[in-house]
């Protein structure tokens, strides 16, 4: 029997020959947190946070092509028709929006993904001393700038959002409400955004050798933007009930600091803010850096505008989204005095009256920087005339196209005739100037606002050099004048406010700010319902458009997000 056992024992030992390490298999192609501790990895966490914010798609971009312009009176959604990105059609009509509306949760989730990268970088930075890493505070400033920027983007869209910071664990984050139970109003959230921007302004240098990093002045400019939102205090139903003059006064000081000390100036021609050759120019306060032929498949393009090229073969392949409304085109009309037509601008009719319309009206030159008009030079090239064939569904969305975010088709910024790598000028000095005007008017110092607004108009007037045909004649009959009290206007506070709002629209149309301004000023419902009432005569599909005050100022918290929150999140009112 013992003899029998010998082979069995040997057999067993031989087969058991695997030691314990047999079940220890290292992971492939990944890093653990132990691999990444130490100062040499910090830049990697910081750069990765920027990358996430810059690599956003059409649906979750911070660039407000749709949420800033598409949902305002500036732009139609565009595309092949109403059912192309139906959810955007629903959103621009407002009334059909439910908490399940499409293309909504993606913005929320992507932005919080950016925030998680930012907070990861902040945690890495906090783990290291100034001695080990002298750039520590400057980098913390950058990260808090980005964190406030992301939360602001969400705040403008959803109003009630959880503010996520680096101290929170995944488990903590689950229990952060979007609307703190004790919050009287949303100022508590704005204050957190303001605090992060303020930290940034105190820690960032005055200038950066890397143009992609925000400076002290960029942070201060964003503090102005935050303070403006805080100044127009909203009640439960999003209506503006009070204007906080203290906040405005603080903002004014910041405006002056930026204007006087940042070293920034308006470009001589506004066109340079929309051209590939003039990235990071003297007017630019903060710019998202895009690139091409950079080792990624298509390049780090501004994918947020990826649907926005006209479908104009062979120059552009797709998709003809983001089309100026007839209302916007009309807004550029000027009186014989060269001033905007505050009350009657929308009376003229472009619909089915194309040739006469452009022949019989005079315009602010910014129309040709903002809108592409068939037969007119495209991107300042008199030898490349925009073609009506670029319009994918003219019956629904007409023939006019946007131009500011486009690059010339022969510029190397284009990938496959679709996306482009031109930087997105997030904030330019003109905006700070106009904010200053806004504040002054609200502080009843409209006389001081006059030269600021005129400075903007002066530059617009000077921006006609590139608006010419091959034979040297201007594209259109431009007629723009400065406001001259007693000559062409009476500069009352009311008039100044109208002039300011119009100037803001003309200067920034197509740059993704309009809808948020309308909400801030408390006039979104009135403006948009008036817009629908008129636009429906031109485009019948506007019949479903209706803006309910106290509801549509903000998007619903995405239902999918609410579902996952286990009751921690509260839906916005009336959804």
């Amino acid at each position: 029997m013992i003899k029998l056992l010998i082979p069995i024992v040997i057999f067993t030992i031989a087969t058991l020959g695997c030691d314990k390490s047999f079940l220890e298999v290292p992971s492939k192609g990944v890093l653990t947190s132990e691999n990444l501790s130490g100062p040499e990895y910090i830049e990697g966490f910081v750069i990765s946070a920027y990358a996430h914010i810059a690599s956003r798609s059409v649906y979750d971009t911070h660039y407000g092509w749709f949420h800033g312009d598409g949902r305002s009176d500036n732009h139609y959604k565009g595309g092949s028709g109403l059912t192309d990105q139906t959810s955007y059609h629903e959103m621009e009509m407002f009334a059909p929006v439910t908490s399940n509306v499409g293309n909504n949760a993606v913005m929320w989730n992507s932005t919080y993904a950016s925030i998680s990268r930012i907070n990861a970088a902040i945690r890495q930075l906090n783990n290291i001393s100034n001695d080990e890493y002298p750039l520590k505070n400057a980098r913390l400033g950058e990260m808090k700038f980005l964190r406030a920027f992301c939360h602001m983007s969400l705040k403008q869209r959803y109003k009630w959002i959880p503010y996520i910071t680096d101290e929170m664990t995944v488990v903590d984050i689950k229990s952060v409400p979007n609307r703190p139970a004790d919050a009287q109003n949303d100022l508590v959230l704005w204050q957190k955004i303001l605090d992060d921007f303020e930290f940034a302004s105190n820690n960032l240098p005055s200038s950066q050798s890397d143009p992609g990093r925000p400076t002290k002045w960029a942070a201060k400019a964003f503090m102005v933007k935050t303070l403006l939102s805080m100044a127009y205090q909203q009640n439960e139903t999003h209506q503006v009930i009070n204007i906080d003059r203290n906040a405005l006064t603080s903002a004014l000081t910041l405006c002056n600091e930026v204007i006087n000390n940042s070293g920034k100036a308006l470009t001589s021609d506004i066109a340079e803010n929309f051209m590939y050759d003039f990235e990071n120019n003297e007017e630019s306060l903060f710019e998202m850096q895009f690139s091409i032929n950079d080792g990624t498949t298509v390049g780090r393009l501004n994918l947020g505008m990826n649907l926005n090229t006209p479908r104009w073969q062979p120059y552009y392949r797709c998709c003809d989204f983001n089309k100026p409304t007839y209302n916007l085109v009309n807004a550029f009309r000027t009186s014989v005095d060269g001033l905007p037509l505050f009350d009657t601008f929308n009376d003229a009719e472009l619909h089915n009256n194309y040739t006469n319309y452009f022949k019989n009206n005079t315009f602010d030159p910014r129309i040709s920087h903002t809108c592409a008009i068939p037969g007119h030079p495209w991107k300042y090239d008199p030898n490349l005339l925009y073609d009506s064939l670029g319009s994918r569904n003219p019956d629904v969305y007409g023939y006019i196209h946007t131009q500011k975010e486009q690059v010339h088709p022969f510029e190397s910024a284009q990938y496959q005739n679709r996306g482009n790598s031109m930087n997105w000028r997030v904030l330019r000095l003109a905006q700070v100037l106009l904010w200053k005007a806004e504040i002054l008017i609200k502080l009843d110092r409209e006389d001081e606002a006059l030269p600021v607004i005129n400075q903007i108009r002066e530059r617009a007037n000077n921006s006609q050099g590139r608006l010419k045909r091959a034979d040297g004649t201007p594209n259109l009959d431009y007629n723009i004048a400065l406001y001259q009290p007693g000559v062409n206007c009476t500069w009352s506070n009311d008039f100044a406010w109208k002039a300011y709002m119009f100037e803001d629209r003309l200067e920034f149309a197509g740059e993704g700010t309009r809808f948020f301004n309308l909400v801030r000023w408390g006039i979104a419902g009135d403006v948009l319902n008036e817009y629908f009432a008129k636009e429906v005569q031109r485009r019948s599909w506007n019949s479903t458009g209706y803006f309910t005050k106290g509801k549509h100022e903000y998007l619903p918290i995405p239902q999918a997000v609410i579902n996952l929150s286990e009751g921690v999140y509260v839906q916005n009112i009336n959804y």
Binding site: F11, V30, F45, S48, A51, S116, K174, D294, N393, S412
Partner: protein, 1051 residues
Amino acid sequence: MEKVLEAIFVIMRRIMVIIIICVLSGFRVVGAQTNAQDKKEIRGVVTDNTGAALPGVTVVVKGTHAGVITGSNGEYVINVQPNDQKLVFTLVGMKAVERDIEGQNQIDVVMAEDVIGLDEVVVTGYMTQKKADLTGSISLIDTKDLQKVSSPNVLKSLQGKIPGVFITTSGNPAEYVSIEIRGLTSTTASPPLLVIDGLPSQANLREINALDIESMQVLKDAASASIYGSRAAGGVILINTKQGKTGDLQVSYKGSMGINTYMGWQKPDLMNTEEYGRTIWQASVNDGLDPNEQTMLYNFDWDFVNGIPRLNNITNIEWLNAAQTLKASDTDWFDLLTQSGKHQNHQFAVSSGTEKTRQMFSLNYFEDNGAQIHTYLKRYSARLNTSYDLLNGRLKIGENLLISSTSFNGQNGIYRALVMPPIAPEYAIDGVSWGGCALESGMDEHRHVTMYQKLEKDNMSKRFKTIGSVFADLSLFKGFSLKTQYGLEYSTQDYRFIDFTWEQVGGQADALNGVSNYYSKSTAWTWTNTANYNYSNDVHDINTVAGIEAYRFINEYFSATREQIVLENYDYAHISAATGNITATGLGAEETLLSYFGKVNYSLLNKYLLALTVRYDGSSKFPAANKFGFFPAISAGWRISGEPFMQAFDFISDLKLRASWGMNGNSNIPSNAINDRYDANYAATAYMIDGRKEGLMPSGYRLTHSGNPYVRWEATEQFDVGVDFGLFDQRLSGSFSAYRKTTDGMLYELTYVGTAGEGNAVWINAANMTNDGIELAITFRSPLNSVLNYTITGNMSANKNRIDDLPESVVYSYGGNGVGDNILGRPRRSIYGFVYDGLYQNQQEVDEGPEQNGKRVGGMKFKDLDGDGRITQAYDRTWIAIREPDLLLGLNTYLEYKGIDLNIFLQGVFGNQIYNDYKLLSDFYNTGVIAGRNHTRRLLDAWSPYNTSSTIPGLSIFSVNEETAMSTYFIESGSYLKLRNIELGYTLPSSVTKKFFVRNLRLYFMAENTLMICKRWGDNAFTGVDPEAAGDFTTTYDRPATFTFGVNATF
């Protein structure tokens, strides 16, 4: 590769050492006994009951491995020891015979055909067992069914034949077949474990040549499968390939060819050009728009009659473009996309064997062209199985080897064919340039249907697979043997796709070309060592096995894409020949398993059966504390028919009660779930912070997944009871099983609320699920030796799935309203949605109806379930359907009369409700991104003021309301009954074939998938083409009908 060879070498050396040691130490003992006394010789002849000699019968001394094989004249000679008691005669297909040796020198035997099958020996996992002794739920596949294969994947022909096994397939020759045994076990359910010739495998069955398969078993209950431990939760499929047979050299050829084609009922009823125009008109006028302003393609002559729009005439433009090269057509895109695809299968096999050696060699070529143009699969495979008996039959060594090379192209253009406007032509008038949509006449960017199929016809993927194992089986002493088996599975996959440029006359073009190249290789080896001990006498019968198994799987892939190639052909288009942007990716994976297992089968008096199994499995995927899982099982059986008191009921030939309980594991998670994982993905983390326009960017790190240091096995417990019965000498036989399967601590990839940000997903053990089910199989056959032979087999099974528990944060991820109503207690495949309540007939109804976005005359009305006057997502949706069938059914009839055989097989599923997303195309004018899509002719019957009885909503160009939201409108009956197979065969009399040196010749004709009955009536009538379409009705490559002519010849 070097590493693999090295590993093989090391292991081979170990095996050699073991065998040498065993031989040296063990055989002395046995050998000593052998020489004790003189041997005796016994001779005889084995015949069947017609008196014909039976070659190849195994004759062994009972309880030993010592045996001989009868020669071609049925004769044998065997040496026996004086203390040997019995000789056992066995042959596949015949009843085993036992004879006493005592006092005999000549033993002649007449063997009877075994229709009962109870003595059939089946492989049940590291050991064999008599079918009669089985105590678990095991389905044996009829070998005949394995020969009827017109598709590359044997599972396609087994659909509906095995109770409790739910198989879904498509018509795409390159596509996988999904198989689910006894319901959905887990949200991360792994497919059944495939064990080929004792080697657990990653193989896809389409790489295995069905004609090489000798037997196939499905282990369904946990007790049967638990010996396979951690990978067995989805069930186990055991496949044994054909081995060489002792006897004369046998050469056989099996060949078949035929076509795959869509019959009338399998074709969508698409609109033609005129009908397409009519729906544009209808949708426009319904929306109050001028139809002539909505399209440039048609001119509508229309007016109002009593305020209702009326269409008098419709004409379409002649030329779609100004250059007059694109002519308006009436294209049947489905017809252009589809074809009668040829398939053929040729198998050449040689089998031979002597007393000591057996070889089986086969070569196979399989070609399957799909019913869509340029879709195909081609497979070359070869198999070589050999085994040798050494040391007087005490040592058996051998190998099984499969080499298979498969290439396929599975492109699927069905969606494009369904939506492409019929007015667009395939080609321009020159007959060469691509046609398609004309952008200048306002058509949208529809993707050309046939252009892609034709351009990319040679963009094929290739797979190469080798599965091989070597084994040595040593019988140490009576009943005790050791076996070692080392198996290696090596596979590569690769493709080189050209991205072609193209230009359509209508204005669409793709000017950028390039090439994509992919290569991956996987190596998996399994080393199994087992010791078997069998003991039997008249009272007890014990079979035991104990073993150790080690497994390692290593995979690596590399993929690169580069733009811009000068020549668009496969000789030129390599990565180095391209000049543009290059993108490359590549990664690896590795996992190991180490297992200890044992099993005891005990049979008392052939009546009382008991089996115990344990398996202790360790996996590299789990943290140190949780690496090992313990999977026990117990099963018992009582053969009532063996009891004396049953002799009174002599019509009962077999009756067995059985019950089992066991536990299986699931470890179907990625191999790095324990730790937080970061990566340095360039595309995701690089940013041009320094403002350059081009060039490499600085990059960084990101969290991709969170780790769980406590993650562990998911365990599935299964309780199974059953009865196996046979009546009237087994003319009526069957089996019934009932089971409850509970999955506990289901592995779940939990994603926290999105606010938690990137990389927060984590694998946890959380959810619980239950499956309850019953299975019944009944076979009725003709009496022995009747002129008309028939076998009728029916099977049915039912399974109910239920989610018992989910992690709180995902409780609404499978439906539910987020405020209390959730899926808990319901089947996983439940659907949540609105309740459709008919169409609004007039404005008054619309005004009175509940508040609903976009409600309109002719539009859909939803039920206001909570009665608050508003249709809301939160309170007006409910559970509206369960996609799982109530009943699966299969009915197989086999008739044979004087060499003519007929086989009819029907398969069906019943009681499932499906979400027919085809309705989005067939019932709504436009619901997606691309405008002006074609639809089926159902749309012509939509509601209009002239057609108010219609149940199809009135057409609208906008569809901005929620009509396309999930509702009962889309829920339809998924029940169907299909004629899966009808086959007529003729076996020529051997008197005729002998003249041509052919032993056996059978010719047959087979038609598959030719008829279907589904529920075309009532509220939930099915309105699509084929209810079997898996998941998505608008993109499924439906299974075509297949016609095959074949010949089987043995020489």
